[in-house]
């Protein structure tokens, strides 16, 4: 076993070998999840706590299902309604939960780096379910698995990530992962939605969507994150849709067998044409959701095994 990471905080610290190992295991869980009896005992007796400091439906459900299918005891904490409101700091919350001896903590937080901070204070495996504008590693991994299954490989592909790159942790994790696996990554979007320093990312940047999509194998759309915007990034949603919304006409610039992806939830008619999103010949959006559960099962199993293999840490 080569997977040695003690936490899954981001793609940045994973090696290509670890990524491949995780995806290989996730492939097996896809098969399990398609059976009638979807149950394993890999995490039996272990406790998984989902702490979501930011609203989430699909990610939280996916992690919950992943834990339950592996036999873990899963608890969901709605952090917005809890002691955080009473002024407890993140670290105190973490220490409190840590005292209950969880084995896996799944954390989403609106601030970049908050999950890293929390991971320093607990002695169990922490999975980052999205922190601010930093990373969303399981999303990138499920995207990678979806691409690998659709394209038969995860290298030397040309992949366009389109839309609101600046506010997207999904984009950051995907840029890192796809780069590590030696793909050509293109970023497509208006200059106002590109993060600073983008020229140093080792990617190609396109402001014209048709040019950006020319001959790509994968079109990855991002949600326009209206809730993260503090004003004035785009003139209007209709102009955005006109220039950067994915429709079949713009998609025709890509390879004929190019697949369309979206991390969800979608803004139909803002970044993607609704009909196209539902086109089972092009869109793999539903597969992405399916892969999500499998990837999270694999991630949790590997983290638990890596912890068991590592010398026991002493809590400071």
């Amino acid at each position: 076993m080569t997977f040695r990471a003690q936490h899954l905080l981001g793609i940045e610290r994973l090696s290509p070998v670890e990524i491949t190992e995780l995806l290989d295991l996730a492939d097996q869980y896809v098969d399990l999840n398609r059976r009638d009896v979807k149950h394993s005992e890999v995490l039996a007796g272990l406790t998984q706590i989902n702490m979501f400091f930011e609203n989430s439906t699909r990610t939280q459900a996916s992690f919950e299902l992943a834990g339950k299918r592996l036999g873990a005891d899963v608890m969901n904490m709605a952090m917005q309604a809890s002691s955080v409101k009473k002024g407890e700091t993140l670290i105190d919350t973490a220490l409190t939960l840590n005292a209950m001896h969880p084995d896996l903590l799944v954390v989403r937080h609106p601030q970049s780096g908050a999950v890293d901070l929390l991971a320093q204070k607990v002695n169990c495996a922490v999975l980052n379910a999205g922190d601010g504008k930093h990373e969303h590693p399981t999303q990138a991994l499920l995207d990678a698995l979806t691409i690998r299954r659709a394209k038969g490989r995860l290298h030397r592909l040309s992949i366009a990530i389109c839309g609101d790159i600046a506010h997207s942790r999904v984009a950051r994790s995907n840029i890192l992962l796809l780069g590590k696996m030696e793909n050509r990554v293109r970023l497509v979007g208006p200059a106002t939605l590109m993060p600073s320093g983008i020229a140093e990312f080792g990617v190609e940047v396109f402001e014209d969507m048709r040019e950006g999509l020319a001959d790509v194998d994968v079109v990855m759309m991002l949600r326009l994150q209206r809730e993260r915007m503090d004003g004035g990034f785009i003139p209007s949603e209709r102009e955005y849709y006109h220039r950067y919304g994915l429709d079949s006409e713009k998609l025709s610039c890509a390879k004929e067998d190019a697949i369309v992806m979206h991390p969800g939830p979608m803004n139909r008619g803002v970044e993607i044409d609704g009909t196209l999103a539902d086109d089972i010949n092009r869109s793999v959006i539903q597969e992405q959701v399916e892969m999500g559960v499998a990837v999270r099962m694999a991630a949790m199993e590997l983290l638990v095994k890596a912890r068991r293999a590592a010398p026991r840490e002493v809590m400071a």
């Binding site: 970049s112 780096g113 901070l117 504008k133 942790r169 993060p195 320093g197 140093e200 503090d230």
Partner: protein, 423 residues
């Protein structure tokens, strides 16, 4: 009491010299004649450096209001241990120093409990709200050495131009924080690849130039004496150079952190490296060091900003900005010396002579008759900094665990020894 200090490397920022010599301290004055008098206590400095005490422009003491973070006593102790003989305090306390009464309180507290000299700045506008100017005349009479709203940039240019005009008529110094406040609102780091990878809210370095250009236009308009607290980006330097060439009464400073650290030091969200303005890229750091060497930037300060543990043990965005620096200013500055970027007279011009001159204080000199505020230090002595060993109440130093060189051996204020290192 009189002392004869001999066999010392005298660092004279006025003369620009660094040579072995001797001097006498009689009472609160320096005497440069190199002969001991009969009653002198003689100190062999062992070839170590003897320099004017540091004048640290822009120290946050947290008193009144937040004495759990720092007090005049602990700040004074930290200063003495760091070779800082004059603390020029910032007025951004709670409540802020915006009346002659609060100013007198701060000065009295300082003189009672701090072993070093205290010079106090006042806010420029009442409650730092940027609406009405403070009673500048009264405050100046009470001892305010400069007027500044700190990092609360006065956005209303009409208010600022009036305050500057009024300050000019009083020959008072206005200190600005060159930063376009809307652009930099909420920013935790400098924009660029690192900021984007970490997903942190970032500000373009251009916000500093925009802020500076605006302030300089107002200086040109009003004729006020103006000091930019921190210039940290290469993009702002041409504007500063033009203003100086045009003969405007302008000086600029920079914190030691911006001269010795860069944006990548934040690493994995280390909040002790969160300062205001944020740490810059290496290119900027190098350009600013060169600007200090060229004399374009006049002042190096610690920007001492104590923050308690709780305000730093937070996600990076939420964590408070600022770092303590009184005790680490000198050893950190030695990094620049050992790197060959600045020699010791250049450093002491920026850390002692220039700030004293700018504020109209007599210190910062080794000349005959100058105040006997001195620091004796070993520029080479190596050590690893343990933040818990600092005298400040707050331990938020970015140099924790780092190897530093440069140890203060003795500090004198007005001829009295206020610190001696026990080897």
């Amino acid at each position: 009491m009189s002392l004869y200090l001999h066999n010392a490397r005298l660092i004279d920022p006025e003369a620009g010299t660094d040579e072995i010599g001797a001097l006498r301290i009689e009472g609160d004055k320096i005497h440069r004649e190199a002969v001991p008098q009969g009653s002198d206590e003689q100190i062999d400095c062992g070839g170590k450096c003897l320099a004017p005490g540091i004048v640290d422009l822009g120290v946050k003491v947290c008193e009144p209001g937040e004495r759990h973070k720092e007090s005049f006593r602990t700040a004074g102790l930290a200063a003495a241990r760091g070779g800082v003989t004059t603390i020029v305090t910032r007025p951004d306390t709670i409540p802020c120093v915006d009346t002659p009464e609060t100013l007198e309180f701060a000065l009295r507290r300082g003189s009672e409990v701090a072993p070093v000299r205290i010079a106090q700045m006042s806010t420029l506008t009442k409650a730092r709200e940027g609406r009405e100017m403070v009673e500048m005349g009264f405050l100046k009479d009470a001892g305010a050495v400069a007027f500044t709203d700190g990092d609360n940039v006065v956005t209303d240019t009409k208010v600022l131009s009036r305050a500057m005009t009024y300050a000019r008529s009083l020959e008072a110094l206005v200190m600005g924080h060159p930063q376009e406040p809307v652009m930099s609102a909420g920013a935790a780091v400098t924009s660029g690849k690192f900021a984007s990878l970490r997903g942190l809210p970032a500000v373009s370095p251009m916000a500093e130039r925009i802020g500076l250009e605006r302030d300089l236009a107002l200086v040109e308009m009003t004729g006020v004496a103006y000091h930019a607290d921190q210039i940290t980006t290469a993009a702002a330097l041409p504007a500063l150079a033009r203003a100086k060439q045009a003969g405007l009464n302008v000086t600029a400073g920079v914190s030691i952190h911006h001269l010795t650290l860069n944006s990548l030091d934040v690493g994995e969200y280390r909040t002790f490296f969160k300062v205001k303005p944020p740490l810059r890229d290496e290119d900027d750091r190098v350009a600013i060091v060169e600007a200090v060497a060229a004399g374009l930037i006049d002042v190096i300060c610690s920007m001492h900003t104590p923050q308690d543990e709780e305000s730093k043990r937070l996600p990076f965005e939420e964590a408070a900005s600022g770092a303590v620096g009184l005790e680490t200013l000198l050893p950190a500055a030695m990094r620049l010396y050992h790197a060959g970027a600045l020699d010791l007279p250049q450093l002491w011009r920026a850390m002692a002579l220039n700030p004293a001159t700018r504020l109209g204080l007599p210190g910062g000199r080794l000349s005959d008759g100058a105040p006997s505020d001195l620091v004796l230090f070993d520029p080479d002595a190596p050590f690893v900094l343990d933040r818990w060993s600092l005298a400040s109440k707050s331990k938020n130093t970015p140099f924790d665990g780092q190897r530093l060189q440069g140890r203060v051996l003795r500090t004198f204020v007005a001829g009295q020894e206020v610190y001696a290192h026990n080897a």
